[in-house]
Amino acid sequence: MTSGGIKPGSIKRAVAASALFALTMFGGVASANPQPGQLNMTRGASTWSPEAYFLNNVALGVCVVIGILVFGAMFIAMFRFRKSRGAVAEKWSHNTTLEIVWTTIPVIILIVLAYLATGGLRTFADTTGSEMTVKVTGYQWKWRYDYVEYKGKAIDKVGFMSKLDRESDETRQLHSGLDPNAVKVDGYNTYLINVDKPLVVPVGTKIRFVITAGDVIHSWWVPALGWKMDAIPGIVNAAWTNIVEPGVYRGQCAELCGQDHGFMPIVVQALPKAEFDKWLADQQAEANKPQQPAQPAAPAAASTAAAPATAQATDAPASQGHQG
C-alpha cells in the first residue's frame, strides 16, 4: 500500500489467493433455500435475483482484494518495522502523491459499483407489465394472500391466511420436548420455514405484489426472489418477481413484529403455468360455489387427499420436495 513495500510478485500472489478464496466462498451454493453450512447468498430462482447475487459477489470480491492489500501492508509493517528488530523510526508524516492515489482509486471503484447497483435498482423499481397481481398483508403473526388479478382478469374471492405449520408450531413451544431436527418434508428440514398453506404462483410470469399490513410493520422476504419489502399499515408497497424454475421457495418475516416474529414464515410454491391455471380455476370454482349446500356434490372428491378442495387445500400438488 505504501512506498516500496509491495512488489509486483506479491500483488500477483495476493490476487491468486483472493481468487481461490472467492471460489471456495461461492462454490456449491446452488440451492434457493437455506442449507446447513451455507456461506454465501443464494443466486435465487427469479429473473431479478441474480442481480443481488452478482452485486454481492462483486462487492465481496472487491472487499477481499482491498482487504488483502491493506492487511498485507499492515502485517509487512508489523514484521519489518519492529523495534525488536532494530527498526529506527522515520520522520516523515505525509506524502501527497500517495494520498491522492488512495483517494482517487476508491472513488473509481465506487463509481463502478454504483453503476452496477443503479442498474439493479432501476429494473427492480419497474413493476409495469405484470400479468398477475397478488396482495400480501402481514398480520401478527401470519400472512394473508389475496389474488387480485391474473392475465388482465380480476379474480374474486381467492385469498387465504398462511401461517406456521402445525408441526413446527408444536415443536417450537418452550420445553416442548420435540426435536426440531425431526420436522421434515421430503427429507428437507422445514422447521419454522413451512406453512399450512403456501402462496401458489405460476413460473415465467411477471407477478406484481402489493404489500401492506394490518397491525404493525412486517417484511415479506423470500431469499430466492432476491428482495424483501416492508409491509406497513396504511401504506401499499409494490414489488415484482418472475420466477424461472418451478419449486418451493421459503422465507421468513424480516421486520421485528412482536413475540412471534420468528414464527411467521413464507412459502411460495411456483407451479408450471398449466398447473397453476388449473389450481386457480379450482380455487375460483370453490370460492364461487354457493356457500351452504354443495355437500352431496363433493363427498367422493373430498375423501381423497388429491382433491384440491377448499382453502384448506393442503400443500398443493407435486413439488413440495423441490428445494429449488
Binding site: 452485486l55 454481492n56 462487492a59 472487499c63 518495522f81 519492529r82 500517495l98 447497483a117 404489500i211 417484511s219
Partner: protein
C-alpha cells in the same frame, strides 16, 4: 487514585475531599467525573453483556430452551439500549472528561457543575430503564429502534421515553461542556491544528450530539403522545405515517453511530503513533476525514430504510451518499497503516487493541460498503449479516478502541502499571473469541437468517452454535479486563513514570503519574516538540 493528591506537593492546599459522598456525588473535578463515567460504563457493559449472554444461550441450538420469545425480544432491545447509551457513549464521555483538559492544558472542564449533573442523570435514567424488566408489563421489546406501531404495543413506553429523554439531556450537556472546554480553555499556543486527533474527534462528535439528540427526543415524545394522548403522528388510521418515525429516528440514528465511532478514531490515532514512535501520517487529512464523515452522516439516514419502499430516486441518492463515506474512511485506514510503515513498533496491550481495531473495524467497513449497495441490501437487510456488520464496527471498533484507550491511560490515571501479561491474555482471548462470535454471523445472514428471532431452522444450527461458544468465551474474557483494572488500581506495585510510553507525545505525559487532583492551574508553556502535532506541515 484516592492517593492522587498526596503525591504532589503543590496540590496540598486543595486536594480531593476526604468525605466519600462529597468527593464522588458532589464532584466538580473532571478527573473524578471522568472516573465516574468510566466506572458506570463498565457496569453497564457487564449488564448489557449479560443480556447478550441470554440471547446467545437461547440461540445456542434450534428450539426454545430457556426463555419465551417476548422475553427474548426484551433482551435484544435492552442489550442495544444499554450498550449504546450506557456503555459506549458514557465511556467516550469519561475518556473525554479525563483527557481533554489534560491534552489541551486546561485546569478543568469549562462547566464543572453541569459536568456533575450530566453524569448523575445517567444512573437515574438507567434505573428507570432497567426497572421495567421487573414490572408487570415487562421491558420494552420493540427493538432499540422503537419502530411504531410495534413499540406502542408495550406497557413500558413511558419509562422508555423518559429514560431516553434523560440520556439525551445528559449527552447534550456533556457535548456543550466539551465544546466550551475545547474552544475556550486551550493553553496559549495550543492552536486548533495542534490539538491531538482525539480532541478533534470529540469536538466534532460533540457537534453531532447537539444536532441529533434533540431529534431523538422529538421522535420519542411523539411516540409518547401517540400512546397516551391520542395523537396520530405515526398512526396510519389517524392520518399519520409509521415511516415518518423511521425517517426521524434514523436522522438521529446515523449520526449516532458515528458518535460512537469518531472518538474511537481519535483514540486509535493517539495510540498508533505512540507505539510506532512516528508522527501520525497526514494529520490534517485525518482531521478533515473525521469532519467529512460527520457531515456525510447527516445525509445517509435512509440507507437503514432501503426496504420500506422508498422511491427510486431516494434509493439512488441514499445509496450514492452512503458509498461516499468509504472514501474518508479509507483515507483514515490508509493513514493508520502509513503511520505504522517505517516506524519502530512495540506491541504493548494498547497497541495490540489499536491494531485489532484497524483490521476488524475495516472488516466492518467492508460489510458496510456491501450493505450500501441497495439491490444487495434487499437481501442483507434485517438479517444476521447486518448484525455481524454493526458488531464489527461497534465491538471490535468502538469497544476495542475504548479498551485500548483504557490500557493506554490507566497508568496515568492510577500511577501504577497494569499487568502487561494479563493485558495480553485479555487481548488474545478477546480478539479470537470476538471473531468466533461475529464472523459466522455473516454466513448466517447470507444464508437467510433474519435478525431478532429467538429460534431458527436447523440449517442455521452449526454457525449459531459456533457463534454462541464465541460469545460465552468473549464475555468471560472481559472478566480478565475487570481483573486487570482492579489490580492496577489497588494492588499493582509497579509505579508508572510520567511519560508512561517511550514514544508518547502530548501534554498529558508532562504531568506526574498519577495525574494530580488539580492540573494546569497555571497554563503550561507549550513547546511544539512536546506535542504530537506541534509542527504541522501537511
Amino acid at each position: 487514585m484516592a492517593h492522587a493528591a498526596t503525591h504532589d506537593h503543590h496540590d496540598d492546599h486543595h486536594g480531593a475531599p476526604k468525605n466519600f459522598f462529597v468527593r464522588w456525588c458532589m464532584s466538580t473535578n473532571h478527573k473524578d467525573i471522568g472516573t465516574l463515567y468510566l466506572v458506570f460504563s463498565l457496569l453497564m457493559f457487564f449488564i448489557g453483556g449479560s443480556f447478550a449472554m441470554v440471547i446467545r444461550a437461547e440461540l445456542f441450538k434450534p428450539g426454545l430452551q430457556l426463555v419465551q420469545p417476548y422475553f427474548f425480544n426484551e433482551m435484544t432491545t435492552m442489550h442495544a439500549l444499554v450498550m449504546i447509551f450506557g456503555a459506549v457513549m458514557p465511556a467516550f464521555v469519561g475518556l473525554g472528561n479525563w483527557m481533554i483538559p489534560l491534552m489541551i492544558g486546561a485546569p478543568d472542564m469549562a462547566l464543572p457543575r453541569m459536568n456533575n449533573l450530566s453524569f448523575w442523570i445517567l444512573p437515574f435514567a438507567f434505573s428507570l430503564l432497567l426497572s421495567t424488566l421487573f414490572l408487570p408489563g415487562g421491558g420494552p421489546a420493540g427493538g432499540w429502534t422503537m419502530y411504531p406501531p410495534l413499540s406502542l404495543q408495550g406497557d413500558s413506553v413511558a419509562y422508555l421515553v423518559f429514560a431516553v429523554h434523560l440520556m439525551g439531556i445528559s449527552s447534550i450537556m456533556g457535548a456543550i461542556n466539551i465544546i466550551a472546554t475545547i474552544l475556550n480553555m486551550r493553553a496559549p499556543g495550543m492552536d486548533l491544528l495542534k490539538m491531538p486527533v482525539f480532541v478533534w474527534s470529540w469536538l466534532i462528535t460533540a457537534f453531532l450530539l447537539i444536532a441529533v439528540m434533540p431529534v431523538l427526543a422529538g421522535a420519542v415524545t411523539m411516540l409518547l403522545t401517540d400512546k397516551y394522548f391520542g395523537t396520530s403522528f405515526f398512526n396510519a388510521a389517524g392520518g399519520g405515517d409509521p415511516v415518518l418515525f423511521q425517517h426521524i429516528f434514523w436522522f438521529f440514528g446515523h449520526p449516532e453511530v458515528y458518535i460512537m465511532i469518531l472518538p474511537a478514531f481519535g483514540l486509535v490515532s493517539e495510540i498508533i503513533p505512540t507505539f510506532a514512535r512516528k508522527p501520525i501520517f497526514g494529520y490534517k487529512a485525518m482531521v478533515f476525514a473525521i469532519a467529512s464523515i460527520a457531515f456525510l452522516s447527516f445525509i445517509v439516514w435512509a440507507h437503514h430504510m432501503f426496504a420500506v419502499g422508498l422511491p427510486l430516486g431516494g434509493e439512488i441518492f441514499f445509496m450514492y451518499a452512503t458509498m461516499l463515506i468509504a472514501v474518508p474512511t479509507g483515507v483514515k485506514v490508509f493513514n493508520w497503516v502509513s503511520t505504522m510503515w517505517g516506524g519502530s513498533m512495540t506491541f504493548e496491550t494498547p497497541m495490540l487493541f489499536a491494531i485489532a481495531f484497524v483490521i476488524l473495524f475495516t472488516i466492518g467497513g467492508f460489510s458496510g460498503l456491501m450493505l450500501a449497495l441497495a439491490p444487495a441490501d434487499f437481501q442483507y437487510h434485517d438479517t444476521y449479516f447486518v448484525v455481524a456488520h454493526f458488531h464489527y464496527v461497534l465491538v471490535t471498533g468502538a469497544i476495542f478502541a475504548i479498551i485500548a484507550g483504557t490500557y493506554y491511560w490507566l497508568p496515568k490515571w492510577t500511577g501504577h502499571m497494569y499487568s502487561e501479561t494479563w493485558g495480553k491474555i485479555h487481548f488474545w482471548n478477546s480478539v479470537i473469541w470476538v471473531n468466533v462470535l461475529f464472523f459466522p454471523q455473516h454466513f448466517l445472514g447470507l444464508a437467510g437468517m433474519p435478525r431478532r428471532i429467538p429460534d431458527y431452522n436447523v440449517a442455521f444450527a452449526n454457525f449459531n452454535m459456533i457463534s454462541s461458544i464465541g460469545g460465552f468465551l468473549f464475555g468471560a474474557s472481559q472478566l480478565i479486563f475487570l481483573g486487570v483494572i482492579v489490580h492496577a488500581v489497588w494492588f499493582s506495585k509497579k509505579k508508572a513514570p510520567d511519560r508512561v510510553w517511550e514514544g508518547a507525545k502530548g501534554l498529558e505525559w508532562t504531568l506526574p503519574s498519577p495525574a494530580p487532583y488539580h492540573t494546569f492551574d497555571v497554563p503550561p508553556v507549550i513547546h511544539d516538540d512536546e506535542l504530537a502535532h506541534g509542527h504541522v506541515e501537511d
